[in-house]
């Protein structure tokens, strides 16, 4: 039996794999098939009937999304079945379907947020009738509560059940369903409770009509008046592809773009709805603390104040880079401070113990995000991908659901939306027999260490043990580097790649903050313990007025990730760039430019004058291979050789203290999210839900 099947589609012979649906086969020859319920990444429902095509000889039109090519038969004479996706027959069928869909659909397009990007609107124009023949009363449906993110206008629903399938299959929380039947059928959450998924915003994109729309974006803008910019998300270390839609100087919304290797086409709620944080609590001008209060000053005044603060012994200066730092700013800052002779520079505000080995592969997610689909056994050590990389968690779930992946966890036993073997809560479980048993027979084992696992005294030992485990279980093999770190911060890998670490004799974050240094520079580092800073002069460079800015003596405003074109390296080591969608707020400057200006003030001017010059330095000379040489790809299994050696354990042995969460609150991990009202609302809701569960 051959694995392919010949079809004659619109007069064109085509041979497609038998696993294809008829719709895929039609698209193979470039035919356009309208659809509402069908979605590539969801199971086939076949209930909208919009994808009807003609199969010559069949008594009825065929729903092409649900017809598997392998189940079709050739004509009597053995020739390929004749399929028509155009012509009067198909047109009439689709026309009829469209008329039925529109029977109960309200004609409220002028006040509908989906207007202009509505599948139903577009397809009604393309396939529908010009007028309505329906004189009866239309059905009306009560709107449902689905939480602070998803707004519902349920009368518009055409019951495609994409949202039901998404939350059940991809998000893994069965919370939306279709209740009642026939004309009374309604989409709802259980008793109108809020969705608890971190991916709930995706149902807005999936909804082909205006039934599920974005609540924060409601009535804010029309799609055709938005300026659309492709960019990169920085809310977690995945670096999801996003589209920033802006109007004037305001970001109106953020949507995911398709990036098969990173986020497929999903986006976490934090990445999607954080945009209102970009307009609040912004630092739009420099400030200097005088008499205990911050006063707005001009840039020259601020730079002078910084110069004064930095005119101390270089050993009395410490620099901490935060989670959102872009590679350009990190590079310029590092060059600037090492030019001053500062040794205490660190990009690990939470005190993680990676990056010191000098081997890039030790802190990358070498198996890659997409690689989990090839893996058959995944061990998560102190990592909770559901909150640390929500979209990747959906991919793990997908691999578990449709593939043959099994998952084990050492660490907190959280609900990951898929079942797993819980092998222990503390590092000493790493050497247990259960771990060996778990990996037995696995062809592509995968060991992933989370941020929480290394932010502790025995962090280096855990890393070493995890790498050894990977080597022992065959996770490091030709063409498969099954060991990796799951980072939580978008800027971390880029800064590590630049060597933003304590130089010989320098201090790490905890000591920078707690050992009475005279001057401490915080590069957007707000999640650190500022209480031990004592009398230190604090210079804060960042975009939002958060903890760091309120402690600071000098505040230098810089651009946020939507306001500059900057390089970020994701947890896989994939170098990606954001694109400027709007101008920086007020007098804020790009981070690297601040240090370029400072360097001139200090009389030690950096060698680059533009961001492009800086990036050229990052990329290295022609032929030179730096982490920033390539763009858009993950090194993946290329690093196998580097992983074959053992990692020094750093003296400490594996402890028995349980792993803690790396991320306390999914919705409030960084200054932008903490400035967002939407995120605050989500956080409050999630917290109340957590409490309710705990009370049971």
């Amino acid at each position: 039996m051959s694995d392919t099947f010949k079809l004659n589609i619109d007069g064109q012979e085509v041979e497609v794999p038998k696993s294809y649906t008829l719709m895929q086969a039609c698209e193979e020859v470039g035919a356009e098939i309208p659809r509402f319920c069908y979605h590539e990444r969801l199971s086939v429902a076949g209930n909208c009937r919009m994808c009807l095509v003609e199969w010559e000889g069949a008594p009825k039109p065929i729903a092409s999304c649900a017809e598997i090519v392998g189940n079709m038969r050739p004509n009597k004479d053995g020739s390929a079945p004749i399929i028509r996706t155009k012509g009067a027959y198909v047109e009439k069928a689709r026309n009829g379907v469209m008329e039925f869909l529109l029977i109960n659909h309200p004609l409220d397009c002028p006040i509908c947020d989906q207007g202009g990007e509505c599948d139903l609107q577009d397809q009604a124009v393309a396939y529908g009738r010009a007028d309505s023949r329906y004189d009866e009363n239309k059905r009306a449906v009560e709107d449902k509560n689905m939480g602070p993110l998803v707004k519902t206008i349920m009368t518009r629903c055409i019951q495609c059940t994409r949202c039901v399938r998404f939350v059940a299959e991809v998000a893994g929380v069965e919370e939306i369903g279709m209740i009642s039947r026939g004309e009374s059928a309604e989409i709802t959450t259980y008793l109108e409770k809020s969705l608890t998924s971190e991916l709930s915003g995706n149902v807005i994109d999936l909804c082909p009509v205006g039934a599920l729309t974005s609540k924060p974006y409601a009535f804010n803008a029309r799609p055709w008046e938005l300026r659309k910019t492709s960019s990169i998300d920085v809310m977690d270390a995945m670096g999801a592809a996003i589209r920033v839609d802006a109007k004037g100087d305001a970001v109106m919304r953020i949507l995911p773009e398709t990036s098969e290797d990173v986020n497929e086409e999903w986006l976490s709620d934090k990445s999607r709805f954080v945009w209102d944080g970009l307009a609040r609590q912004r630092l739009d001008r420099p400030y200097v603390r005088q008499n205990g209060k911050l006063h707005a000053v001009t840039w020259p005044e601020a730079l002078d104040a910084v110069k004064a603060a930095l005119s101390v012994n270089a050993d009395e200066i410490g620099v901490v880079a935060g989670d959102l730092i872009e590679a350009e700013q990190a590079k310029a800052a590092l060059d600037f401070f090492s030019g001053l002779g500062v040794k205490s520079t660190d990009c690990r505000p939470a005190g993680a113990q990676y990056g010191t080995s000098g081997v890039r592969e030790h802190y990358l997610l070498n198996p890659t995000l997409a690689g989990v689909e090839e893996s058959d056994a995944l061990l998560l050590i102190g990592a909770n991908p559901r909150i640390e990389a929500a979209v990747w968690n959906a991919r793990i779930r997908k691999s578990w659901l449709w593939g043959n992946l099994k998952v084990a966890v050492i660490g907190e036993a959280a609900d990951l939306t898929y079942p797993y073997d819980h092998l222990g809560t503390s590092p000493d479980a790493l050497t247990s027999a259960a771990v060996v048993e778990f990996f037995k027979g696995a062809k592509r084992p995968m060991v992933v260490v989370g941020e929480a696992a290394v932010c502790r005294a025995d962090g280096a030992a855990i890393l070493a043990a995890a790498l050894k485990l990977a080597q022992d279980t065959g996770a490091i093999a030709e063409g498969w580097a099954g060991y990796g770190m799951l980072h939580t911060a978008a800027g971390r890998v880029g800064a590590l790649d630049l060597g933003f670490l304590p130089a010989e004799g320098g201090k790490a974050t905890a000591d920078i903050l707690g050992s009475g240094l005279k001057t401490v520079v915080l590069l957007g580092a707000d999640e650190v313990d500022l209480s031990k800073l004592g009398a230190a002069k604090v210079i804060y460079v960042g975009s939002h007025g958060d903890a760091g800015a309120s402690r600071a003596d000098v505040v230098l405003p810089c651009a946020a990730y939507t306001e500059l074109s900057a390089t970020y390296v994701n947890t896989e080591g994939r170098v990606q760039m954001t694109t400027r969608a709007v101008q920086p707020k007020g007098e804020a400057r790009e981070g690297w430019a601040i240090f370029r200006a400072l360097s001139a003030v200090m009389g030690k001017a950096l060698s680059y004058d533009t961001a492009d010059d800086l990036r050229a330095v990052l990329r290295g000379k022609a032929g030179e291979n730096t982490p920033f040489s390539g763009r858009g790809y993950a090194p993946g299994a290329k690093g196998v050789a580097a992983l074959s050696a053992t990692l020094p354990a750093g003296g400490a042995s594996l402890g028995s203290q349980p792993f803690k969460r790396a991320v306390a609150d999914f919705y409030l991990t960084n200054p932008i999210a903490r400035a967002s009202r939407t995120m605050a609302e989500c956080s409050a809701l999630a917290t109340s839900l957590d409490t309710a569960v705990a009370a049971e």
Binding site: S180, R181, S184, T189, L191
Partner: protein, 342 residues
């Protein structure tokens, strides 16, 4: 079908199955493999409804979901899909009134008026908690239309007066016998039967032809055609069998060994005789090989004429075949003539 929502308030926050229900739950769950337990959702919802005074409260639905390890929304979908699951409280006696066409033609509209008058709006529970009603689709008792179902029982052939009386009695705690409310047994004719009423039909007194071959004769001696007392065959007789007992039940294949003892031989074994001819022969009273074996040439001619073909009996040697079979020489017959097809 109106919107169906849980009555959250009336449902309270607690539900527990009755202890005696556990056995039934185990029975239903036992029907499905461990990983397909959710298949038992409908029976379990039904049991929950029974244990919860005839309606499904939200805690009851959650209990079912928890037991089957299903997400609440999935059970909610099932509970709202099937209208037999009632999501609001009902009275002790819940009247389901059939309003579909046959009942409507026979006067269910009048019954509806009675319900409205005696109880109130659909799904309204009377103050004494005893009665409630709703209109439902066909309950499959059209022959006794119009009818209602009260809890688990059908009350049929109603008139507004009789329904009103029933409701009155139920309200006062008096039991009412279910079934037709007129002079009628089940679906039999009203006022008793009007045909086949002659008692002699049933007392056996008309059973004169006691020797009929198609009557069970346990230790029957081999009857000869003469002994059957059958009238001379003159044409298709369409014999009316007085005895309704199923003596002619030929669905059971007759084994050759038993054939001789039985009043009916498998005539189809004779090559040339099919089911149709066997029936015709049986109707003539020819039910055994022995009968046919004893045929004279004159009889053969006569039967040929009746069956409407020439010379076939001679050509296919039915008589000779029958003689072999009657003598019990089945193997020899099959060798010689071939076994007749059924």
């Amino acid at each position: 079908m109106a919107l169906r929502r849980f009555d959250i308030e009336a449902g309270g926050d607690r539900f527990a199955f009755k202890p005696e229900t556990e056995e039934k739950i185990a029975f239903w769950r036992g029907k499905y493999p461990a990983d397909k337990q959710r298949s038992a959702v409908i029976p379990l919802l039904w049991l929950a409804q029974k244990d919860n005074a005839g309606w499904l409260s939200e805690p009851a639905m959650r209990e079912v979901a928890d037991r089957l390890e299903m997400p609440y929304i999935r059970v909610y979908e099932v509970a709202t899909f099937y209208t037999m699951f009632r999501l609001q409280p009902v009275g002790k006696h819940h009247v389901q009134l059939c309003g579909t066409t046959p009942c409507q033609l026979r006067g269910s509209e009048g019954l509806k008026e009675v319900c409205k008058k005696e109880i109130g709006k659909p799904m309204y529970v009377t103050d004494d908690q005893r009665l409630s009603w709703e209109e439902v689709e066909c309950l499959g008792a059209c022959v006794n239309a119009p009818m209602v179902q009260i809890n688990d029982d059908y009350y049929e052939d109603l008139t507004p007066e009789s329904l009103s009386a029933i409701l009155g009695r139920l309200r006062n705690g008096v039991d009412v016998a279910p079934g037709p409310q007129i002079d009628r047994v089940n679906s039999a004719p009203e006022g008793g039967t009007t045909v086949l009423t002659e008692p002699s039909l049933f007392d056996g007194s008309r059973n004169k032809v006691a020797a009929l071959p198609n009557l069970p004769q346990p230790p029957a001696p081999q009857p000869t055609p003469e002994a059957t007392g059958k009238p001379e065959v003159k044409g298709p007789t369409n014999v009316h069998r007085e005895e309704p007992a199923k003596v002619n039940d030929r669905a059971e294949p007759v084994k050759p060994e038993e054939a001789r003892a039985s009043a009916f031989d498998d005539l189809k074994r004779i090559n040339g005789v099919g089911p149709k001819y066997e029936q015709m022969l049986n109707d003539m009273g020819v039910t055994q090989y022995a009968h046919m074996a004893a045929w004279s040439q004159a009889k053969v001619d006569e039967v040929e004429k009746l069956l409407g073909f020439n010379d076939r009996i001679d050509r296919e040697k039915w008589v000779a075949q029958a003689q072999l079979l009657a003598a019990g020489k089945f193997d020899e017959h099959d060798r010689e003539y071939g076994r007749g097809k059924d």
